[in-house]
Amino acid sequence: MATLESQTIIDALEQQFPGKVVAVDHPYDFLTITIAHGSIKDVIRYLYNEPSFSFRFLTSCCGMHYPDAPQKFAMVYHLHSFTTNFRIRLKAFTNEDPPVFPTLTDIYKGANWMEREAYDFFGFRFTGHPDLRRILNMDSLEGWPLRKEFPLEDPFRKDKDDAMFGR
């Protein structure tokens, strides 16, 4: 099995997409690269097609919400290259609301429901997605449940006040 070094990927991406690699990090030995919002799909397509990388497996993708940060929304992609057994995490941040990301369904078929989940819970739009509907929640639900401002419990209930414990 060929081995892959993090630095090889970082160098290749910086050479291929100058200025689009926003940040590089290694939290818990997991290569994490933040990509400029507009280039995320090109980067993933490059990582998919480049023979020495061939990240052919989309492990998961999910949304993130940071209400207090300058960039409020993010998509986090976990890719896995089976030929080199290397995992990579890619992030793309945006501040527009509703956030718009390109769909990955034409690269990975499995992205279909993952992106529907991100739409369902965060209200992310995916341009080019074939069937962007809610998936786990009911269609009539208002709001985006995993955004931080969405209340976990019925906000009108008064009997569950346990402010004593900081909740």
Partner: protein, 410 residues
């Protein structure tokens, strides 16, 4: 029967059947043949499925949102309810995720004990899946026979953690208690008795002409499609790709074990059945190896790592020492310090790669927790897999994919 034959002289005139008229058949949400809450609206041409429209989310419980309000140790019971046929794997996966975040190295003994429990859970899960494939193809005998053995696995869980289905087994940092003698006896008894039962179950089905005719070629998926759909676990391996998290990214000392990864070729129901069947034999061998390794470890009492910040002190310390009381209070109230950071940890669940993406902002709850649920990801291929097949094959395909509603809907 011609179109205008009346079944009874008093029956109303039949409407003339139009050319290419499709029937819309509502399979589910609750249907005895789907073994869970799945709705599929099928467009049928006679017995052939032309198209299908799956609807999921009937038992969605918002685990990811719930997790944002719970301290770390209280998330374990949530993970029970993902794939409830093999809860211990989910529990262990979650413990390992948190242990990775706080940087705890477990003693080898605890890791081998975890391996035993996880492999027992894998066997229990595969028993459900394979026995149900038998039921759906018309063979109830194997189901009844094999489920007795699953009961024995549940009795082992019961000795260790007191629960059977939603186990909440183990703690962050190890196990809640050492395995008692009864648990070891039950594990030994299971290892002695189960191979005979499993062999007999195989004799019933593996070369059974009716079973083979029903399952070979039912709901096939090619390896390229399976990869594109992010399949993992036995379903991907049945299609022919030997991806197993236990080997690719070993956790809990799986690198110390010798075992084979069974791989299929056609990716059909029969291959999925056979891969799971073979995995049960491999799991048995892993458990035996783990017991051997445990015998070589002279220490017989360690059952957790030394992490006072996360592992509850024994009750006598809580009642008699100040430190014990303080730690107990801090852990129960979720007030211990957690590092900031993000981890992804994956375990080989019974259905494939079960991943936990945990983002911590240092607070008492996770900032965000995303479950990579194998069922949710591969069930989206179901519509493609059954297109052009018969309705009865669609039922078999569903049970051989082993879609568990709890994991699907989270």
């Amino acid at each position: 029967m011609s179109e205008n034959t009346k079944l009874h002289p008093n029956a109303p005139e039949r409407a003339a059947v139009q050319e290419k008229e499709y029937t819309i058949l509502n399979l589910g949400p609750t249907h005895p043949a789907t073994h869970g809450i799945f709705q599929n609206i099928l467009k049928m041409d006679g017995e052939i499925i032309v198209d299908s429209e799956p609807t999921i989310g009937y038992i969605h419980r918002a685990f990811e949102k719930l997790a944002e309000r719970r301290p770390y140790y209280q998330i374990t019971p949530i993970t029970d309810r993902l794939n409830y046929c093999s809860s211990p794997i989910n529990n262990m996966g979650w413990h390992m995720t948190v242990e990775k975040l706080i940087g705890v190295q477990l003693p080898k003994r605890v890791e081998y004990m975890r391996v035993i429990i996880m492999e027992l859970a894998r066997i229990a899960d595969h028993i459900v899946c394979n026995a149900v494939i038998g039921v759906d193809s018309g063979a109830l005998t194997g189901f009844v026979y094999l489920f007795q053995e699953r009961e024995k696995i549940y009795e082992i869980y019961e000795e260790i953690c007191g629960a059977r289905l939603t186990t909440n087994i183990g703690r962050i940092g190890g196990f809640e208690r050492n395995f008692n003698d009864a648990a070891w006896e039950k594990i030994d008894k299971f290892l002695k008795e189960f191979p005979g039962v499993l062999k007999e179950f195989e004799n019933l089905l593996v070369r059974n002409r009716i079973f083979m005719d029903r399952t070979i070629g039912a709901g096939p998926i090619s390896v390229e499609e399976a990869l594109a759909y992010s399949f993992t676990g036995p379903n991907l391996r049945a299609a022919g790709l030997d991806y197993d998290v236990r080997v690719m990214t070993p956790y809990s000392s799986y690198e110390d074990f010798e075992f084979a990864i069974p791989v299929g070729t056609n990716g059909d129901t029969y291959d999925r059945f056979m891969v799971r069947q073979q995995e049960m034999w491999e799991s048995l061998s892993i458990i035996r190896q783990a017991i051997e390794k445990l015998d070589k470890i002279s220490d017989k009492t360690t059952f957790h790592a030394d992490v006072p910040e996360f592992y509850l002190p024994p009750k006598e310390d809580v009642y008699n020492t100040m430190e014990g009381l303080i730690w107990h209070f801090k852990i129960v109230m979720g007030e211990t310090d957690i590092p900031k950071g993000e981890v992804y940890h994956a375990v080989e669940g019974a259905n494939g790669e079960l991943g936990f993406y945990l983002v911590s902002d240092g607070g008492r709850n996770p900032y965000r927790l995303h479950f990579r649920r194998p069922c949710f990801i591969y069930y989206q291929a179901y519509a493609d897999m059954i297109r052009g097949n018969m309705l009865s094959d669609a039922i078999l395909t569903l049970s051989s994919l082993n879609v568990i509603a709890g994991e699907l809907d989270a």
